[in-house]
Symmetry: C2
Subunit: 537 residues, 2 copies
C-alpha cells in the first residue's frame, strides 16, 4: 500500500527555514566576541547569512557525513555555522574549548575535521596544535576583516565575514535521510579518552519537539531566551533547535559569562528564560545581591549538568521570584533525560517538602525510559529508597559511540549512564552519585554528593568535594575537601560536628582538607580525578 | 557507520505506556453512553484495560494492517479500543456515525473492517446495514452485560466488558515500522464518495509532539481537557494522543453535546481547555446566558472545522474571560494546519484589530508549509489581499488516499486543499471560501463565507448560507438563505440594506430565502450540496 501520509525526511534546516518564514523579525541578540559589543540580528537575516555560508562551504568542499569543527562561543555566527553545516548533510562537530590543547588535538584528529570554525579567543590554543592536525585544511576565523589577526599556521585561513560576503543569500538544500548524523560532541573525557556522541537529524528533531513542551523545557514564542549553556555542551541542551522552531527570541552571551555581563543581558533584553550549569548562577547571585538588583522579567531558569544546590533554588524563589527547574542529562542523551517539575497536586505541599522534590533530578519526558538496577543487573524497586545503576533508553539516547563497532547499549537497548540513582513512586529520579565516585565503606555505599551537599549547607563553605580514600579495614573512607567562603575560617571539628546532625555517623569524614581552589572539569564540574590523583598516594 | 542514536520506531502505544507509568493517577472522566452517568478512570487503569482488550482482539484474529471499525462517542472505552488496535499494528478506523446508513455501509465495505466496535446509540443504524456488510465478522457492543441488548444480526456479537473481563491485564506489544498505518478516517463525502485518509504511527506522533507546543494546541500536564471534538473527526484533532503524552486530564462527553451537559462537565471537572466546532459553542452560549453561568476554570477553547464567528470570540472574551483559539485543518491534514495566536507585539493593538487577526485561520506550526496559487498554478503574493488555491505540505498531510494508486499530491508534494485563501505578510492565512462554493460573478469571485458572515451580523439572523445560482449574464449570482432567530422577523429588503453597508455593491444577493432549517453535513457544516440541489433547478 502507498504511503498514506507524506514521509519526506525530517531535516534540521527546516527549523531555520520555518523561523525565517514565520518568525523572521524575531531577534537574535549577540554579545560579539570581537569587542564585547551587543549586535542585533533576526531569524530572517540569520537564515540569509546561513545560505551565504552554505554556498561558501560548498566551494570549500563540504561533503555529506564529513565533520567540520567549531571552537566557538554562543553567537549568531555559531548558529549560522551550525545550520550551514547540518543543512548540507555534513556533521557539525562542536568542540569544547575548555579541554586541554592535547585533548582538542586528539578530538579533531579522531573526528577527522577538515574545516575548523574558530573564535578569536581560542586562536592561541589552536596555533599550538595546528601543526599536528592531520585532516584540517581550512580555518575560518569568526570575525570581520577589521578584527582579523595575522596567523601563521599551515592551514588555509579565512575571515568569516569576508568569506560569506562573496556569496549570495539563496541556497537550495538537498534533503538527507533522517538518520544521517548532523552533529558530533565529545564527552569531556574525565575517564579515559573523550568519546564521540553523534546526533542525527531525527534524534535532534524529536528532542527539540519534546523539549518545547511546557512540561519539559517550556520553549515557546513569547520567551526571550538567554542561552548560556554552550553550543559545545550537548547541543546547548537542544535550545538552538527548540528556540527557532517556535520563534523564541535568542540572546547569546558570547565570551562573557561573568555575573556583570549576564545580568546586563538579563535586564536589557527582557530575558524571561535561561539555562546554564549551577556554576554560572553561583557567579551571578553575589553580583545581584551586592547591587540590590532584581530580575523582573526572568521567569524560569533551567539548571543541570550538576546537582542544583538547595539554597540556590530557594534564593531564586524567595529573593527573585524566579523558578529554577532542575534537570538531568548527559552528552550521550542529547541531553534531555529528566526534568523536575512539580505535579499539580504537589503545589499545595509545605514549601520545604516542595524543595525536597525540586532538588531531585525529576521525571523523564515522553520518549525517555529509565530504570535502576542492582549489582546483579535486576531492576530495583521504584520506592525512592533503593538506589543502583541508572539506565536510559529513547530516540535521543546514544546507541553506538561515533565510529565504534560495539554498541554502547545492552541487548535490550539500555544505555548504562554511569550514574547511581533512586526513583520514587511518582517517577522522580534522584542522582546519588556517579558510579565511579561513590564511596564503598564496609560493604555499604556512601554518596559523595549527599556529603558534599551537607557540607555546603555550612555558611563558611563555598565549595566542597568528597572522594573515597583507601582504608585497610573499611575498604574506603570519605575525605572532605573544602574551599571556604572568602574571609571565613572554619576548623575541622566544627564542620564534622555540623555534619553529624545531618548524616549518619558512619558517613562522617575522618578528615577535612582546606584548599584555595577545587579543580573543575571542562564542563564546570568538580574534577574528582584530579583530586584523587592529588590526595590519594 | 553504525547508528549513533537509538532508532527504534516511534509507536503510538508508547504514549499510553508513558501515561500509565508517569501519569497513572491522572483522571479520565467519561459521561457513559449506557446511562449518561459520570464514570471515573485514570491512565493506569485505561492502560490495563487496553491490555485486556488487546489480548481479546488477538484471540478474535486481529492482524497487522487489517482495519477494525469504531462507531462510537468519545469515551474511555473508545480510547482503550483505539490504543488496543493501533498498539498491535492494526488499523483503527473511526467511522462518523452521523453519515447516512448507506455511506457507513460503503465505508465499512471499502475499508474491509473485520471487527466493529459500536456504542448502543448506533445499533439501530447498524442493524439496518448489517446484512450487507461483506467483511465484518465480529461486533463488540461497548457496554457491560447489564446494558447488553438482544441483537439478531449475522455477525458474532460480544459485550465489551464481558469480553475484556476474560483476559489479563498484561500484553507484550510488538514494535511496528513507524510508517505503518495506525488509523483511518473517511472524509464526509460532500463531494462524491467518501475517501479514506490513513494516518501512520509516525504522522500521528509528530503531529502530537507539535500539537503540545504552547504556540500550537497548548497541551500540558496541568490542563483538564474536555475533548468534545469527536474521535471520528480527524483523530479528535490529535488530542487523544497529545493529552496522555503529557498527562493532561481528559474529560469525555459521551453522547451528550447539548449546552446543559457540556456546561455540567465544564464546571464539575474544572475544565481548563476544550476543543470543538463552532456549532457546539453556539449551543452552549444561550444556556450560559439564560442561567447567568460563569466559566471560572476554562481558559482556552480551540475552535475549527468551520470559521469561528467574530461575535463568538468577542462573547467568550468579554463575558466569560475565555480565549477562543481559531484553527484550520482537514481530515487530510491530521488535522492541524494553522493555529491563530497573536504574536507578542500584536497584543497591544486596539481590541477590534486584534479580533480582525483572531478571526483569520492563523499560521502554520513548525512542520507545515502553505502556499496559495492563482489559476495558472503560480504562487501568489503573501500580501493579505491576493487569494487563490491553498496548498499544504508536511509530515502529517495526506500523500495517497487509502488504497489509491495515484497520489493526492502534485510532483512537488503539495496537496491542494480545495480551499481558497489569502496569506498576509505575517503568515496569517484567511479562508475566503471553498473552491467549490466560491461564486463566480462577471469574471470575479465572490466569497460565500464573507457574505454569510456579513449576514450573520444582523441580529435577526441565526444562521445563513450563500450559494451561487446560474445567471445568464453574470455566470453566477449569490443567493442568500437565512434561518431567523426564533421569534424574529426580517424582510428581504431590510437584510439587503443591512448588507449594503458591509460588502461591495456587486456582491449583494439578488434574493433572500427564509427557511426553517439549514441542512448540515455529518461534520456539522452547512450542506451546500443539499442547498444547491434544492434551490437550483
Ligand atoms: N542535575 C544533575 N545532577 C547531578 N548530576 C548531574 C546532573 N546533570 C548531569 N549530571 C552529571 O553529569 C553527567 C553528564 O555530563 P556530561 O555528559 O556533560 O559529561 P561528563 O559525564 O561530565 O564527562 P565524561 O563523560 O567525559 O566523564 C551525568 O552522567 C551526571 O553524572
Ligand atoms: N477554521 C476554519 N474556517 C473555515 N473553514 C474551515 C476551518 N476549518 C476547517 N474548515 C473547512 O473544513 C474543511 C475540512 O473539513 P473536513 O476534513 O472535516 O471534511 P469536509 O471537507 O467538510 O468534507 P469533504 O471533504 O468530504 O467534503 C476544510 O477544507 C475547510 O474548508
Ligand atoms: Mg559522562
Ligand atoms: Mg474536505
Amino acid at each position: 500500500m502507498n504511503n498514506p501520509m507524506q514521509s519526506h525526511p525530517i531535516n534540521l534546516i527546516q527549523i531555520l527555514q520555518h523561523a525565517a518564514n514565520y518568525h523572521g523579525n524575531v531577534e537574535v541578540v549577540t554579545r560579539r566576541v570581537e569587542d564585547d559589543k551587543i549586535s542585533r540580528s533576526n531569524y530572517a537575516s540569520i537564515y540569509k547569512r546561513t545560505c551565504k555560508l552554505a554556498n561558501a562551504l560548498k566551494k570549500l568542499g563540504v561533503q555529506p557525513s564529513k565533520p567540520i569543527g567549531t571552537i566557538a562561543w554562543n553567537t549568531d555566527k555559531h548558529i549560522e555555522t551550525w545550520y550551514a553545516i547540518v543543512g548540507q548533510g555534513a556533521i557539525c562537530h562542536t568542540i569544547n574549548p575548555r579541554l586541554y590543547a592535547e585533548q582538542i588535538k586528539y578530538i579533531i584528529n579522531h573526528a577527522k575535521d577538515h574545516i575548523i570554525f574558530i573564535d578569536l579567543t581560542f586562536l592561541d590554543t589552536f596555533t599550538q596544535i595546528s601543526e599536528e592536525l592531520e585532516t584540517v585544511e581550512h580555518v575560518i576565523v569568526m570575525c570581520d576583516q577589521e578584527h582579523m589577526p595575522e596567523l601563521s599556521i599551515k592551514q588555509k585561513v579565512h575571515c568569516y565575514e569576508t568569506l560569506i560576503g562573496q556569496y549570495n543569500s539563496e541556497f537550495s538544500w538537498t534533503s538527507v535521510e533522517e538518520k544521517t548524523i548532523s552533529s558530533l560532541c565529545y564527552t569531556s573525557g574525565t575517564t579515559g579518552n573523550p568519546k564521540g556522541v553523534g546526533y542525527t537529524h531525527r534524534s535532534n528533531m524529536l528532542h527539540a519537539m519534546v523539549a518545547t513542551q511546557k512540561d519539559a523545557l517550556n520553549i515557546h514564542g513569547e520567551q526571550s531566551i538567554l542561552m548560556i549553556v554552550p553550543m559545545f555542551h550537548a547541543n546547548s541542551w537542544g535550545l538552538a533547535y527548540a528556540a527557532p522552531m517556535v520563534g523564541a527570541k535568542l540572546v547569546l552571551p558570547g565570551a562573557k559569562l561573568d555575573g556583570v555581563s549576564i545580568y546586563e543581558l538579563l535586564s536589557t533584553e527582557q530575558v524571561t528564560y535561561s539555562a546554564a550549569v549551577p556554576t554560572v548562577w553561583n557567579m551571578l547571585l553575589p553580583h545581584l545581591k551586592n547591587n540590590n538588583f532584581t530580575l523582573p522579567d526572568l521567569d524560569e531558569v533551567f539548571v543541570g549538568g550538576s546537582a542544583v544546590p538547595r539554597f540556590m533554588v530557594r534564593t531564586f524563589d524567595i529573593d527573585y521570584d524566579v523558578t529554577i527547574i532542575h534537570a538531568w542529562g548527559m552528552t550521550e542523551t542529547s541531553p534531555m533525560g529528566t526534568v523536575c517539575r512539580l505535579l499539580p497536586e504537589m503545589k499545595s505541599l509545605p514549601y520545604e517538602e516542595q524543595l525536597d522534590i525540586r532538588c531531585t533530578q525529576g521525571r523523564p519526558p515522553f520518549g525517555v525510559e529509565l530504570k535502576i538496577t542492582g549489582e546483579d543487573g535486576e531492576e530495583l524497586a521504584r520506592d525512592g529508597v533503593a538506589f543502583g545503576n541508572l539506565h536510559i533508553r529513547g530516540p535521543w539516547v546514544v546507541d553506538y559511540y561515533y565510529g565504534q563497532d560495539t554498541p554502547a547499549t545492552d541487548q535490550n537497548g539500555w544505555f548504562d549512564t554511569g550514574d547511581i540513582a533512586s526513583i520514587d513512586p511518582n517517577g522522580y529520579m534522584k542522582i546519588t552519585d556517579r558510579a565511579k565516585d561513590v564511596i564503598k565503606s564496609g560493604g555499604e555505599w556512601i554518596s559523595s554528593v549527599d556529603l558534599e551537599n551537607a557540607a555546603m549547607a555550612h555558611e563558611a563553605v563555598f565549595l566542597s568535594a568528597v572522594i573515597g580514600v583507601p582504608h585497610p579495614k573499611w575498604e574506603e573512607r570519605p575525605l572532605l575537601i573544602v574551599k571556604l567562603v572568602e574571609g571565613q575560617a572554619a576548623i575541622q571539628e566544627e564542620i564534622i560536628e555540623f555534619l553529624s546532625t545531618r548524616v549518619v555517623k558512619w558517613w562522617l569524614p575522618d578528615e577535612v582538607i582546606f584548599v584555595d581552589e577545587i579543580p573543575l572539569t571542562a564542563t564546570g564540574k568538580i574534577n574528582k580525578l584530579a583530586l584523587r590523583n592529588q590526595y590519594i598516594q
